[in-house]
């Protein structure tokens, strides 16, 4: 079972929920940090690093001895990553989406692909938990290729938690696509609700069953609860604001360490999620 943690808005407590949910597993499990622009799960997991994998994307390289400057590569590149002058081909690797069109369509076979590093993945372990965090290099614009590479390391035999980036566009879609369930973390403020509604639209579009966690549930107003009730969205956990949590979290402590009674609460959330996933699978078969 793959459970993605998402939020629409940043700072609602996605990492707080993802890390404690992963640490509350009974047996083996895995946590993938796909918030590769700002990966923070490691701060709370404090894993023993096993190996570092350099993540790269293929970008075109021109063999000018074969090139006749026909301009086909530049014509088919939708991202303006190749410019062909009279006797020079310029490649702009930062704009390349690594789709492979130029290499494949070059009539003279003058283009090949070479890897360009965009980030790294430092796999690690904490007890029974496998930890796979992606970290995008500073200055890189595109995170989805790195997110895809983190997800390639997912072991399908074990329950997986995916900590996703904020927002509703390509990075978060790449992170949550293919999950069995999506847990949306929100807070009961107009900002939180505005972004929750967008996140709900997103998971509905992807046809992934989902539920909500309300963080700082006693700050703000009750419009978020009302929205969830009206939309028939299960609220699986409420975490009230406590200075103790904020303080502990600020020093890198996971929630279930700050308040151990949350371990059972997170286990119950996991149980409820697996029930919902089973029910939704049955519905699809039926």
């Amino acid at each position: 079972m793959i459970i993605a943690i998402a939020s629409g808005k940043g700072g609602t407590g996605k990492t707080l929920v993802a890390t404690s949910l992963a640490l509350s597993f009974d047996g083996e499990g895995q946590l993938l940090d796909c918030d590769v622009e700002e990966p923070n799960a490691a701060i709370f997991i404090k894993p023993e690093t096993e190996k570092t994998i350099k993540a790269s994307v293929p970008v075109p390289v021109v063999d000018e001895s074969k090139c006749d400057y026909c301009g086909r590569c530049s014509e088919v590149c939708e991202y303006n990553a190749i410019v062909v002058a009279k006797s020079k081909v310029l490649v702009f690797p930062a704009m390349c989406h690594s789709c492979g069109a130029c290499t494949l369509l070059c009539p003279r076979g003058a283009l090949t692909e070479q890897p360009r590093e965009i980030g790294r993945i430092e796999t690690g372990r904490k007890g029974g938990l496998r930890f796979v965090p992606g970290c995008l290099n500073v200055g890189e614009a595109m995170s989805p290729p790195l997110i895809r590479q983190v997800k390639k390391l997912l072991d399908p035999g074990q329950t997986a938690i995916i900590d996703s980036p904020p927002g509703t566009s390509c990075p978060v879609i790449t992170a949550i696509k293919g999950s069995d369930f999506c847990l949306l973390v929100t807070e009961p403020t107009p900002f939180g609700l505005n972004d929750l509604v967008l996140a709900v639209e997103t998971v509905r579009k992807l046809k992934i069953p989902f539920g909500v966690v309300i963080n700082r549930s006693d700050l703000g107003d009750n419009k978020t609860e009302a929205y969830c009730a009206a939309e028939n969205i299960p609220v699986l956990l409420r975490v009230p604001f406590q200075k103790e949590i904020a303080r502990g979290y600020s020093t890198g402590k996971p929630l279930i360490e700050i308040l151990p009674e949350y371990k059972n609460k997170f286990r119950r959330v996991l149980e409820e999620i697996s029930l919902i996933v089973k029910r939704s699978a049955n519905k699809h078969e039926g």
């Binding site: 939020s7 629409g8 808005k9 940043g10 700072g11 609602t12 990492t15 622009e37 700002e38 923070n40 701060i43 088919v76 939708e78 991202y79 989406h97 690594s98 789709c99 492979g100 069109a101 494949l104 369509l105 995008l136 500073v138 200055g139 890189e140 614009a141 595109m142 995170s143 980036p165 904020p166 927002g167 509703t168 566009s169 390509c170 990075p171 879609i173 696509k177 403020t189 107009p190 900002f191 505005n194 972004d195 967008l198 639209e201 997103t202 579009k205 992807l206 700050l219 703000g220 107003d221 200075k243 904020a246 303080r247 979290y249 600020s250 020093t251 890198g252």
Partner: protein
Amino acid sequence: MKQIVVISGKGGTGKTVVTGSLAALAQNKVMVDCDVDAADLHLLLHPEIKERHEFKIGQTAVIDRQLCVKCGQCLELCRFEAIRPDYTVESFSCEGCALCHYICPARAIRMAENIAGEWFVSVTKYGPFVHAKLGIAEENSGKLVAKIRQVARDIAKRDRLDFIIIDGPPGIGCPLIASLTGVDRALIVTEPTLSGLHDAQRVMEVARHFSVPVRMVINKYDLNPEMTDQIDGYCRDYGVPVIGRIAFNRMIVESMVAGKTIIEQASSPLIKELTEIWEQLEE
């Protein structure tokens, strides 16, 4: 004309609340919400939309099922896993590269223009406001950011405004880069947590990479005074002035719930702190 962007690396540090306050304090300005993925500034500024425009960009593959011979080439060569085994296109995965269109031997794939979102020019009680809504699951948010910044620059030039105040997106990827390049100053709002420091460090590096001068504000500083000192020290070593510290205050949440900026709603110590932040920024 001076462009000031408010960023954070991490989301939820209070970026929009600070931007809203600057919008209330600055004179002669246009505001832009560049967090097109999850725009929130409109919840404080209550814009009245005057202009609405479609944002057309990129394209999506469409397979003609009559012509398709199910040869499997598109399925095999698409690197974005956007072609389903039943030869339909998963539009939210398609990056519009058109590779499938070129290689399809049956010429069954065409590229259709994509409407990725909308952008608006509005009036608010604080002045003009340019904002946008990216369609769900759309990409190219960096280009939408570039578009609304251009519109704001045009308005600032036309109306001879002194400032462009930009609410930036979280992260360090393309929307952030598109919000940050070419501005006169970036204000980073951080909170005293390990993740706040970690993300602020990364976003400071991005700002340095693009040679943008940076100032720092520590929000909720009293939640962890030791961490606040640590961030202070880090900023000093990095050469980034810390120009403000905002205490944790339930009133900030209350003003957000009321849909008001802190300047309209909250108590005087908060207003004083934010006024001092603005005075140091506008210099």
